[in-house]
Structure formats: C-alpha cells, structure tokens
C-alpha cells in the first residue's frame, strides 16, 4: 500500500512540477508559437501524470474510470486546441519572433 502511495505522490509531484513549468514558460517565452510549446506539451504531460497519480489513490472503480476518462479527453482536446490555434494564427499572418529579438 505504501509503495503505491509513494509512487502516486511521485507521479503527482512530477505532474505538478511539469504544469508549473508549462505555466512559467507561457509567462516567460517571447512569442505566441513558443508559448504554444510550453502550454501544450507540458500541459498534456503534466495533466496526465497528475491524474495518473490520483488514479493510484482512487478507492473505487467509479472514481478510477472517471479519472481515466478525464485523462483521455484532455489528451484529445488539449493538443487539438493548441494545433488549431497555432494554425489559425499562422493563417492570420501572425509572424513568429525569430533571431535576436527572440532572446530578450
């Protein structure tokens, strides 16, 4: 039981750290496209790890299946939204910040 608990908290911590990193990246990175990286990649990984950690602590089937479904839906919607956004921005003529300007 304790092994499961330790594993669960390790996963949760990893997820929380990833989520925080993603948010920091969103805050710090220079332009929209780089921020998309920070938001979407760490977001889906962070959320999945955190939910996996919670899953290990789930007491009943009802809780577990809901956590799995949430994870599944987030894994589908989050990257899709980021992809569609980046594509729409590119179509709209939003220019990526390149070269020296990116290294503020």
């Amino acid at each position: 039981m304790t092994v499961v608990l330790v594993a669960s908290w390790a996963l949760i911590t990893a997820g929380a750290v990833l989520a925080l990193t993603g948010a920091l990246g969103l805050f710090r990175l220079p332009d929209f496209y780089t921020r998309t990286h920070a938001a979407s990649i760490t977001d889906s990984a962070g959320a999945s790890l955190l939910l996996l950690g919670l899953l290990l602590q789930a007491e009943s089937f009802a809780v577990g299946i809901r956590l799995l479904l949430i994870m599944l839906f987030l894994l589908f919607t989050s990257p899709t939204a980021a992809h569609a956004l980046a594509q729409a921005a590119l179509k709209d003529g939003l220019k990526p910040v390149l070269g020296r300007a990116a290294r503020r």
Partner: protein
C-alpha cells in the same frame, strides 16, 4: 500535502491568467485561457480528493469535455468580423 498540490495548481492558473491579461495578441489570450481550463479540471479533481469525496469528478469530466468548445468557438467566430485582421491582433492593447 493536498493543500500544497492545490496551491501549486492555483499558481499555474494564476500564471495562465497573467498571460491572458497581458496578451499581447488575442491568440496568446486564447492559449492562456485554454490552459486555464485544463488546470481548472485538475484543480477540481484535486479539490475532490482534498475534501475526501472524489466521487464528484463528474464536474472535472464535464470541463474536460466542454472546455474545448470555447476554443473552437473563438476560432470559428474569429473567421469573420474585425477579429481576424492581423493589425487588430497586433495592435490589441490592454
């Protein structure tokens, strides 16, 4: 332990909100609000565990499903009207 986790998720939400307020383009805002929605899902899941009644994950589930609609709506409705003009996006001040 749960409190620390809840506060970590809340910090993430606050950072996303900061980006949503700062912009500068509307796409940044949409991205930040999308991230905010995902983090709300996590927060509600964590709050359920924190209160000792994780069976209320239905709310997190509905967010996971519906948060997507907001983003799609912005993308869809941005394809006409003043929103899609690039200078409007660039010059968007707050």
């Amino acid at each position: 332990m749960w409190l620390a986790l809840a506060l970590a998720v809340l910090t993430t939400m606050a950072l996303a909100l900061a980006r949503a307020l700062l912009g500068p383009t509307l796409y940044d805002r949409i991205l930040a609000i999308n991230l905010f929605g995902t983090k709300t899902v996590l927060f509600i899941a964590v709050a359920g565990f924190m209160a000792g009644r994780p069976e209320f994950l239905d709310i997190a589930l509905v967010y996971a499903l519906i948060n997507f609609i907001g983003t799609v709506a912005v993308l869809k409705l941005s394809h006409y009207g003043e929103f899609s003009r690039a200078e409007e996006l660039q010059g968007d001040d707050l």
